[in-house]
C-alpha cells in the first residue's frame, strides 16, 4: 500500500508532456513512501504508448486497451479498477483539462481526498502538498490527514523524465460497465485560424484586463504600430470580444516564443504564462508590484499603463 499510481495523458495519438513529468513526481513520491511506481495508459495505441513511457523509475506499466480517445467515464472506471487491484497509497493525475474531467470523479468514487493543481509534494509519514491561491499571489501548504489520497499535478512544475527504463508491461484485464458510459466524443475542432499568426511575430505587445475598456484597445494598437509589433492578448480580452480568438496567448490559445513579449496590464496567471514563458525577453507593465508576471519578467515597469504607454509611444515616434 506504499505504491504510487500515475495515469498518463495522451491526445490524438500523442503523449502529452505532463505524462513525463508525472513519472518524475511519482518516482519522487514513491521513493519517499518506499513503494513501487505504477503507470497506467488508458485507451489509444496502448502498446506504443507503453513502450514510449517505459522510463527510468517506473516499476510497472498497466495498459487498458479500450477505446481510442479520452473518455472520462472510461478513465474514471479504469483508474478505480486499477486502484482496486494495485492498492496504491497515492494516485497522481494531470491537472489538465482532461485530468480535471475525471480525477474529481475518481476521488469521489474511492472516497479519497483530492488535492488539485499541486506545484510541490513532500512525504514524511504524511503527504504535504504545495499549491497556489488567489491567482498565484500566495502559496499554501496543504497537509493531508489521510493515509491515501489523490493529487493532480500542474504541468511544467516537475522536470520531465526521458531516460529509458525497464518496467514490466502488462495488459490490465478491464471490462467497463458500458451502461455507465453516458458521454461520447464525436470529434475535435481546431479554433483560432484567421488573419494573423501571433506565433510568427518577433515582437508582441500583449494586452490584458488592465486595459479596462474596449475603447482603450486603440492605445495598445498604437503602441504595437510604433514598435513594429503584433498585438496579442490575455484571455479576458478575447472573452469580452475585444479581440478575436487568434490573438489569445496561453494554455487554451497560442504558445508564443517571440524575441520580445511586452505584457501590458496582464497579471501572469498560470494559464497565460504557459503560452509565453518561452519568450526571449519579457517586459511587464503593471500597477501591482506583486503581480506574478514580474516573476518571469526581464524588465519591469511598476506603473499605470495609461501613463506609461503614451510616453512609450512618444519614444518611438
Amino acid at each position: 500500500m506504499s505504491d504510487v499510481l500515475i495515469v498518463a495523458e495522451h491526445r490524438r495519438g500523442e503523449i502529452r508532456d505532463v505524462s513525463y513529468e508525472l513519472v518524475t513526481a511519482g518516482r519522487e513520491l514513491a521513493d519517499a513512501t518506499g513503494g513501487d511506481l505504477h503507470l497506467a495508459v488508458v485507451s489509444g495505441d496502448v502498446d506504443e504508448f507503453a513502450t514510449r513511457l517505459n522510463l527510468d523509475g517506473v516499476d510497472a506499466i498497466h495498459t487498458v486497451d479500450y477505446g481510442e480517445e479520452f473518455n472520462h467515464d472510461v478513465y474514471a472506471q479504469a483508474t478505480c479498477a486499477l486502484v482496486d487491484d494495485i492498492d496504491p497509497q497515492f494516485v497522481l493525475m494531470p491537472n489538465s483539462v482532461n485530468g480535471l474531467d475525471y480525477a474529481p470523479a475518481v476521488a469521489n468514487r474511492l472516497d479519497l481526498p483530492l488535492v488539485s493543481d499541486a506545484v510541490g509534494m513532500t512525504f514524511d509519514g504524511g503527504l504535504t502538498v504545495t499549491r497556489e491561491m488567489y491567482g498565484s499571489k500566495v502559496e499554501t501548504t496543504i497537509e493531508v490527514d489521510a493515509e491515501r489520497a489523490t493529487v493532480t499535478i500542474r504541468g511544467g512544475e516537475w522536470k520531465a523524465t526521458d531516460a529509458d527504463g525497464d518496467a514490466d508491461i502488462a495488459a490490465f484485464d478491464f471490462a467497463p460497465d458500458e451502461s455507465a458510459i453516458n458521454s461520447t466524443v464525436t470529434g475535435f475542432e481546431e479554433v483560432a485560424g484567421g488573419d494573423v499568426d501571433i506565433a510568427d511575430a518577433d515582437v508582441l505587445v500583449s494586452v490584458g484586463r488592465g486595459i479596462e475598456d474596449e475603447e482603450n484597445i486603440e492605445l495598445v494598437e498604437e503602441l504595437a504600430d510604433a514598435l513594429g509589433a503584433t498585438l496579442s492578448s490575455s484571455r479576458p480580452i478575447v472573452d469580452n470580444g475585444w479581440l478575436p480568438k487568434n490573438r489569445q496567448v496561453g494554455q487554451s490559445g497560442k504558445v508564443v516564443t517571440p524575441k520580445v513579449y511586452i505584457a501590458v496590464g496582464i497579471s501572469g496567471a498560470v494559464q497565460h504564462v504557459a503560452g509565453m514563458k518561452g519568450s526571449e525577453t519579457i517586459v511587464a507593465i503593471n500597477t501591482d508590484p506583486n503581480a506574478p508576471i514580474f516573476d518571469i519578467a526581464d524588465y519591469g515597469v511598476v506603473g499605470d499603463l495609461f501613463e506609461v504607454v503614451p510616453e512609450l509611444i512618444d519614444e518611438f515616434q
Partner: protein
C-alpha cells in the same frame, strides 16, 4: 425543468496585502461573484429564456451572509431564487475541501431535484477546479468539464448536452453528454448580461433561502475535511527583472532604450 447553478462569492486580493495567520488579512480582500460563475449564470438564464415550458433557475451558494450581495447580482440577472448554505459549524470548519462542498451541494440537489447543474470551471480564489465533476459523480449525473459551447436546443428537446470542451492548445473536443448532467462552464462561452434596473429591483424581492447543516439533514461531520491548510505565504520571488524607476516618462525612456537594444523599433 429546473436548472441549478452554483454561485460562489470569491475573495480578491488587493495589490498590497498582508497575511494574518492562515489567510490574507481580510482588510485586503474584496468580494465579488466568481468570474466563471457569471458565465454559468448566463447559460442558465439563456436556457430558461429559450424554453417553451417553464424553466426554473435556482442558484446555490455556500457562503456567509455577506455573500447575499453577490447572490443578488445573480438574481438581478435572471436567476429565480437562491439557496444559501451556511451555519456556525460551516463557519468553524478549518478548510472546506472539495469533498466537504460536495456533501453540502449533494444535499441541496436532493432537495431541489434539478435536471441540469451548471457550475464554473473553477473559483478564482481557491482554484481547485474540481467541485462540479466531483458533485456529478456523487449525485449520479453525467458531466463535462471546461465547456465553452453548449447547444441549448439539445438540452431542451433531446435530453442531450452537445458541448465543446476547451482543451489545451486551441483544440476543442466535441462531446455529447446525456442528461441529467453537471457542466462546468468556461469563460467566453457567452456574453454575460448586465443587470437591468428592473432586474435589480426585482432581485430585492426574490427569495434567498438560508439552509443550515441540520436543515439539510447533515451534521458537522459533513464539513470535516481530511485536508488542512497549514501555511500561507508570499512565494519567494524568482524575479531577476530589471525595474525602471522614476515617473512614467523616465520609466518609458529607460524601457525604450532597453527595447532598442533588443532591436525593437528598428526599421
Amino acid at each position: 425543468m429546473k436548472v441549478l447553478v452554483t454561485v460562489k462569492e470569491v475573495a480578491e486580493v488587493e495589490d498590497d496585502f498582508e497575511i494574518a495567520d492562515l489567510d490574507v488579512d481580510p482588510r485586503y480582500l474584496e468580494y465579488d461573484l466568481n468570474e466563471w460563475d457569471e458565465y454559468a449564470v448566463e447559460s442558465a438564464v439563456q436556457l430558461a429564456e429559450a424554453a417553451d415550458e417553464e424553466v426554473e433557475v435556482v442558484s446555490v451558494t455556500i457562503g456567509p451572509e455577506r455573500s447575499e450581495e453577490t447572490i443578488r447580482m445573480a438574481l438581478a440577472k435572471g436567476v429565480d431564487r437562491a439557496v444559501r448554505v451556511w451555519d456556525d459549524d460551516i463557519e468553524a470548519a478549518e478548510f472546506l475541501d472539495v469533498a466537504s462542498k460536495v456533501r453540502l451541494l449533494e444535499a441541496v440537489v436532493a432537495e431541489e431535484d434539478p435536471d441540469i447543474v451548471l457550475s464554473g470551471v473553477q473559483a478564482h480564489d481557491t482554484g481547485f477546479g474540481a467541485t462540479g465533476v466531483a458533485l456529478a459523480d456523487a449525485i449520479g449525473f453525467e458531466w463535462g468539464a471546461v465547456v465553452n459551447a453548449l447547444d441549448i436546443e439539445g438540452v431542451l428537446n433531446d435530453g442531450v448536452a452537445r458541448v465543446h470542451r476547451e482543451l489545451e492548445g486551441g483544440i476543442e473536443e466535441l462531446t455529447e453528454i446525456d442528461l441529467p448532467a453537471v457542466l462546468t462552464i468556461q469563460t467566453g462561452i457567452n456574453e454575460p448580461r448586465y443587470a437591468s434596473l428592473r432586474g435589480i429591483r426585482q432581485a430585492q424581492s426574490k427569495e434567498i433561502a438560508p439552509k443550515t447543516l441540520s436543515d439539510l439533514g447533515l451534521d458537522f461531520s459533513a464539513v470535516e475535511s481530511e485536508l488542512f491548510l497549514t501555511d500561507m505565504y508570499e512565494p519567494e520571488t524568482e524575479s531577476d527583472a530589471t525595474y525602471f524607476e522614476g515617473d512614467a516618462g523616465e520609466q518609458a525612456a529607460a524601457l525604450a532604450s532597453a527595447l532598442r537594444e533588443k532591436g525593437v523599433g528598428a526599421e
